[in-house]
């Protein structure tokens, strides 16, 4: 392949893009829209996943201790709790602290919550690593000596853990479907572009052009289309994601810790995907008309 011929390929691809202006625009638009939707879904799932994680972290197991457990026993218990598999962290709350909380809850009028002696127990707040581990942990801790009662938002926890699984599953399915849809849309567009030029391809063959001689300009055209579409969608997604994440960050129960690395990976894949689909789409679409 001579350098001059490579030059020819590029020139051909660019000329064709210019000549088929409308169709090129349509293709870029389709690629952009397809990748936009796909990328949007990916980012949404990424962010939703992060939100889910932060919600999971809020789920607390309350461990109430028996009356009269002494300090060393409490220390032991803390050790045991932290050693329980699946526990992320734990915090000791003394009975005094609990009473203070209760007081705050029911207004500040003195007297309404004055007891002869503090009737509340000491307790631990335990965080689980994952929501579906909560029940197991609670059961284990219940068996420890010195523990009076273990409370956790039982139904909510179970349901939430199922929900999280579901969201992840549905998210994955939706993303796979959207990826397929994107590939389909892009390859359809390229196929139609090639279809409109099937006669030309035949003529080239009859003039002694090799298959790759015919393919290269189409492949480059596909790559340009894919690249342009991916860039457009990438830029839009980048800024939309940025603004949405900023907006959502205001909500305390949505402490989104979106790692920008993940975002870059997604945008990079879109770019690579666009180029790849453009090139492959061209090769496949041209193939049918090369059989002469």
């Amino acid at each position: 392949m001579k350098v001059r011929t490579v030059g020819y390929y590029f020139q051909e691809a660019l000329t064709s893009l210019r000549r088929n202006g409308l169709m090129a625009l349509a293709s870029v638009g389709t690629v952009a829209v397809a990748l936009l939707i796909l990328g949007g879904a990916l980012l949404t799932v990424l962010n939703a996943n992060n939100i889910m994680k932060s919600v999971e972290n809020e789920l607390l197991i309350s461990v109430y201790l028996q009356e009269g457990v002494d300090e060393t026993a409490i220390g032991d218990l803390e050790q045991q709790i932290n050693d329980t598999p699946g526990v992320a962290k734990s915090r000791f709350i003394s009975k005094e602290e609990s009473l203070e909380k209760l007081r705050q809850q029911f207004g500040e009028t003195k007297g309404s919550l004055e007891f002869s002696r503090n009737p509340l127990p000491d307790s631990f707040e335990v965080n689980a690593e994952k929501s579906n581990l909560v029940k197991g942990i609670a059961d284990k801790i219940r068996g420890l000596s010195g523990v009076e009662k273990v409370n956790y938002p039982a139904e909510v926890v179970q349901k939430l853990s199922t929900l999280v699984e579901w969201v992840r599953l549905i998210g994955a399915v939706i993303i796979i479907l959207l990826a397929l849809a994107a590939v389909f849309l892009i390859s359809t567009t390229i196929r139609l572009t090639v279809f409109a030029r099937r006669r030309e391809i035949g003529i080239m063959k009859f003039l002694g052009a090799t298959n790759w001689f015919i393919r290269w300009p189409f492949v480059l055209e596909g790559v340009f289309l894919g690249l342009a579409g991916a860039l457009v969608s990438g830029l839009i997604l980048y800024f939309v994601n940025f603004y949405i994440v900023e907006a959502v960050k205001q909500f305390p129960f949505m402490r989104v810790q979106t790692d920008m690395k993940d975002v870059y990976i997604i945008l990079g894949s879109l770019l690579g995907g666009g180029i790849f689909i453009g090139a492959i789409g061209s090769v496949i679409s041209v193939r049918k008309f090369l059989q002469v």
Binding site: M1, K2, R4, T5, Y8, T15, S16, R19, R199, E200, I203, M204, K205, F206, L207, G208, A209, T210, F213, V292
Partner: protein
Amino acid sequence: MIQMYNVSMIYPNGVKALTDVSLHVRKGDFIFLVGPSGAGKSTLTKLIFREELPTRGQIMVNGINIARMKDKEVPYLRRKIGVIFQDFRLLPNKSVYDNVAFALEVAEASSKEIKKLVPAVLKLVGLTNKADMLPTELSGGEQQRVSIARAIINNPIMIIADEPTGNLDPETSWEIMNLLVEINKLGTTIIMATHAKDIVDGLKKRVIAIENGRVVRDEQKGAYGYES
């Protein structure tokens, strides 16, 4: 140059375009293919540059069996054969210049060569001042001449011309014919399907007549009709 042995061609729709055709074409021959509309002239030419594969029989072109040829080798065969198509087959999105240059482009000729050859050939067919136009902006005869220019530019070993003067006035036709005769004198084999009685009768070359898919006449220094 070309040997055909008992070649038959039946199109997928069942039309028997050629039946049991045997032919020998020597290097440097100038052959007129004549016959009524639908006789099979174009089909015969299509077999030579492998636009179609014969249903039966063997075809040797330049010593190579066409049916046994690998797909990869086909482009190199085609580059050696200049074809003037009955329906022109110009690339609609390329200018006259680029259409003609394309035959060289395909063979990866140098840019210097292209810049030298294309204007020269356009001058030969009288289209110098139409170089930048698109095929749709040309008259029928001009399109035909572009297709002629493209066929001869590559210095092919053989030129197949399918009614190359069908859209040309008598004067221009004769100019083109004289051009082909010159090229033929330099050793290029020429096979030309035509209905132009004047030209066939005037040039007195080898004439192969086809009727209903069969060769019915093959004469040296022949005429369009039977000598009567």
